[in-house]
Symmetry: C2
Subunit: 316 residues, 2 copies
């Protein structure tokens, strides 16, 4: 018996075959490239067929399939909304996958939900019942586990923490992505940096030497490491936002652990003590003493592990 975990991201699709103890037996990875709509669906089903065939060759059989998607899995309509895949506003992924898996059960959930599932199965949330995965990459989302169960909300949209209101008054630039995400996501870091470079004519640092449009969060972190004053300003502001957001999760959910993951953590891993200092100022004073701030134990693999655990849970 083996489990198939599929992690569909914004740019690539990763798949891994697991035994039921969570050992990876086989991996694959393909780029999505410029595919859209049904071509992305076909990429997914092709990978599943490839993995099913590979398992059969080993005398094995996939007994359950889990998929992590970069968006929302609507449990009522069984369709997927994925804002970064053109044509996936209401995509019938479950039906397409079931078409090829037949009797084998299939489960789909959002990437943020899969991240916290993966960490709770094989990562840094093992043994935790109340734990939150704060995913900071291009965007920001939170996978929230309460008493061992995923928080879904009334329409499967829970955990949209990128929309958290943290800085008043409202500004129209928050409309597209939310206030927290505007300042403290990977894309936000680049955006804020570009806007500061344009405004601050006196700045002559290393980021000024780059073509402003090409600056990304990695450039900003690398400048931050070298004490570039503009990068220091941007990242200090991020620490404030990450601390406030973490504090709000602590006051509302009273979790055992918050895991900081996604591409930005990554380079922001070493900032966790400073984020905690900021959170201590704001949070419910007892709850903050009970929570551990940690980083991902699975990093880029959190999605496939989570998808496989989704498959395992769907089996029982």
């Amino acid at each position: 018996m083996s489990l198939l975990g599929i992690d569909l991201g914004g740019t690539k699709l990763a798949a891994a075959l697991f035994n039921e103890n969570g050992k990876i037996l086989l991996r694959s990875k393909v780029n999505i490239g410029y595919r859209k709509g049904r071509d992305v669906g076909k990429l997914v089903t092709d990978q599943i067929i490839f993995m099913m065939t590979s398992a059969e060759k080993q005398g094995d059989k996939i007994s359950s399939v889990g998929l992590s998607v970069p968006g929302i899995s609507n449990s009522r309509t069984c369709t997927v909304w994925a804002p970064n895949i053109p044509g996936w506003s209401d995509y019938p992924l479950l039906a397409e996958v079931k078409n090829i898996t037949g009797e084998v059960p299939v489960a789909i959930d959002s990437d943020r939900a899969c991240y916290v599932l993966g960490e709770s199965w094989k990562g840094n949330a093992k043994g935790c019942k109340d734990v939150i995965f704060l995913s900071v990459g291009t965007g920001i989302g939170a996978g929230i586990m309460i008493n061992g169960e995923l928080l879904r909300g009334s329409h499967d949209i829970a955990g949209a923490i990128g929309w958290m209101a943290l800085s008043r008054p409202f500004e129209s630039k928050y409309t597209e992505c939310g206030c927290f995400e505007y300042y403290a996501s990977g894309e936000g870091i680049a955006k804020v940096t570009k806007s500061l470079i344009t405004r601050d004519k006196s700045y002559t640092g290393v980021l000024k030497k780059k073509t402003v449009d090409t600056i990304d969060s990695h450039d900003v972190f690398s400048a931050f490491e070298n004490d570039d004053p503009l990068a220091v300003r941007v990242i200090r502001q991020c620490i404030e936002f990450w601390g406030m957001a973490a504090a709000n999760l602590v006051s509302l959910f009273n979790p055992e652990k918050i895991i900081f993951g996604g591409g930005v953590f990554g380079p922001a891993r070493k900032l966790i003590p400073q984020i905690r200092q900021e959170a201590i100022k704001w949070a419910q004073p007892v709850s903050i003493t009970k929570v551990v701030f940690d980083t991902s134990g699975l990093e880029g693999d959190a999605g496939v592990y989570g998808a496989a655990y989704l498959a395992l849970k769907n089996l029982h």
Copy 2:
């Protein structure tokens, strides 16, 4: 078979005997006055004895007791922390009550948890599985129901929304009670008003005529009704904070309904359309279209109803 619901507040203790359909058979109310420590415990047990005796006289028997407390009910130590009752930092209320109820089961929970339970049993959250009671009185707390179950957190402290970080940078005045509560609780409204009167020497409105120390939130609402400019400024700022906090609940929990309750809603009931307008700016754009903003259906009785429902749930 009847159920006893006890609502211990900061200033009074209310008790009500219910039949299992939620009809109130008998009520009582006593002031706590200047009691502290064990004397408050005795007030509770005396009320229970009175209700047990009254039920017996009617040939009835109380089959379960529920208590709502103004603080935290620690499910591990079975003790209560209630910041406004002197001597109740770790009070063995459950043991004291069980001493007199014998075989009859007893359950204790925080007031915010009981409010949402009460509304879901007999108030404006009937039929809701994902619903939040935002209680704005002297302080601010949230009773959060997820898929029909109370959110407790790892140490029973979930829902401490008064600590929500909403206005950066951090100011030391938030240390005592949290940022949201500082601005937008009943006590916060009075505090902000007093500080504005002291600072704004040009203000000559109706609130200036009062002894500044005696001003409470009712005075501010009454001045607001009469377009007093300082009161308008304070309440508009509250609308901004209530809207931001509600937006954050919507983005994180994707609830069906948020119920605004507590003493302040009350006079702030009519502001809900404006609060919703503010929340729409900030919240996850799909989730905000799925949520209803409502007021309490039970008002001052939410606590006794919730305590009785706690008793009923403890029985099954």
